[in-house]
Amino acid sequence: MDKIIIKIADDYTKIPGVREEIEGDFPGEEFLEKILLPKFKQALAEKKQLFVDLDDTAGYATSFLESAFGGLAREYKDHKIVLNNIDFKSEDDPFLIDDIKEYITDANNK
């Protein structure tokens, strides 16, 4: 399956920040609106998989991840659409992908 690739460190920031734009720099909400959601829509339209490379940043707080990836699941109101069309790479943090998948799965339960 062809892929559309996002590398957060190159395409957005090496220092991911907070949850919402008003709270500080490089928030998850902005990443969702400007990069993640448009690329995800493009991937669905072109029947490709979205591949998110999480490495080479200073690390991620739950607030950023939940806002970005949980937010993506809330956009579609179904976590399965997101989980079936997205893949990750995280060599820096071996449990980051598990964390993100939990935020996606739990997004619509809140």
């Binding site: 907070v18 739950t62 607030s63 598990d98 964390d99």
Partner: protein, 189 residues
């Protein structure tokens, strides 16, 4: 080398026996061998070889593996304790500095890597023996990270609410207890 030493010891024993027989003829030596004595001799020889060569080597290897795993568990405990210290410091100062928040995030990356190494070592040595404990620790790690770096973490003027600190402390103690129990269980295998 061990084989040569063994042969030398057997030959020395035979020489001493013959020497005693020659120089002290008052010691009678029985020429006949009965089945019970032969079995005892063979079992003694078997144990004399088996215990030092195989059993002790096996025990030594196991001990070494356990020590490495226990050191890794203690390292993980120490990193988690650092997070607990950072959070306590932030609560005492009633503020979370940028340096504190980056240190906390870095600690969680380290925790993930240390836990991953621990799982790899345990898989190598003990297969699925500790799967239940590891699954519980993985779940607590996720819960702990969500508590500490969730909510409005990294927001300007962010402070840990009292309830979040309490939740953090409870989860920290649970992980620590779980890791202590894991050390005991690894040690007793």
């Amino acid at each position: 080398m061990k084989f040569v030493i063994g042969i030398i010891l057997v030959l020395s024993g035979a020489a001493i026996g013959m020497g005693i027989n020659h120089y002290f003829p008052s010691f009678p030596i029985e020429d006949k061998i009965n089945l019970v004595d032969l079995t005892t001799l063979l079992i003694t020889i078997f144990l004399a070889i088996y215990i030092p060569v195989f059993f002790e080597k096996h025990m030594h290897n196991k001990r070494y593996e356990k020590d490495v795993i226990i050191r890794k568990i203690e390292g993980l405990q120490s990193t988690i304790k650092n997070v607990n210290k950072f959070v306590t410091e932030c609560v005492q100062k009633n503020a979370v500095s940028a340096a504190n928040s980056h240190s906390i995030i870095n600690c969680f990356t380290t925790i993930s890597n240390e836990l991953d190494t621990l799982i790899t070592l345990m898989d190598y040595c003990q297969k699925d023996k500790f799967k239940v404990e590891i699954d519980r620790i993985k779940s607590l790690r996720h819960q702990y990270k969500t508590t500490v770096t969730g909510g409005n973490f990294q927001r300007k003027n962010f402070k840990y609410p009292a309830l979040t600190k309490k939740e953090e402390e409870v989860t920290y103690q649970k992980i620590d207890k779980e890791l202590c129990m894991l050390i005991f269980k690894v040690n007793s295998v």
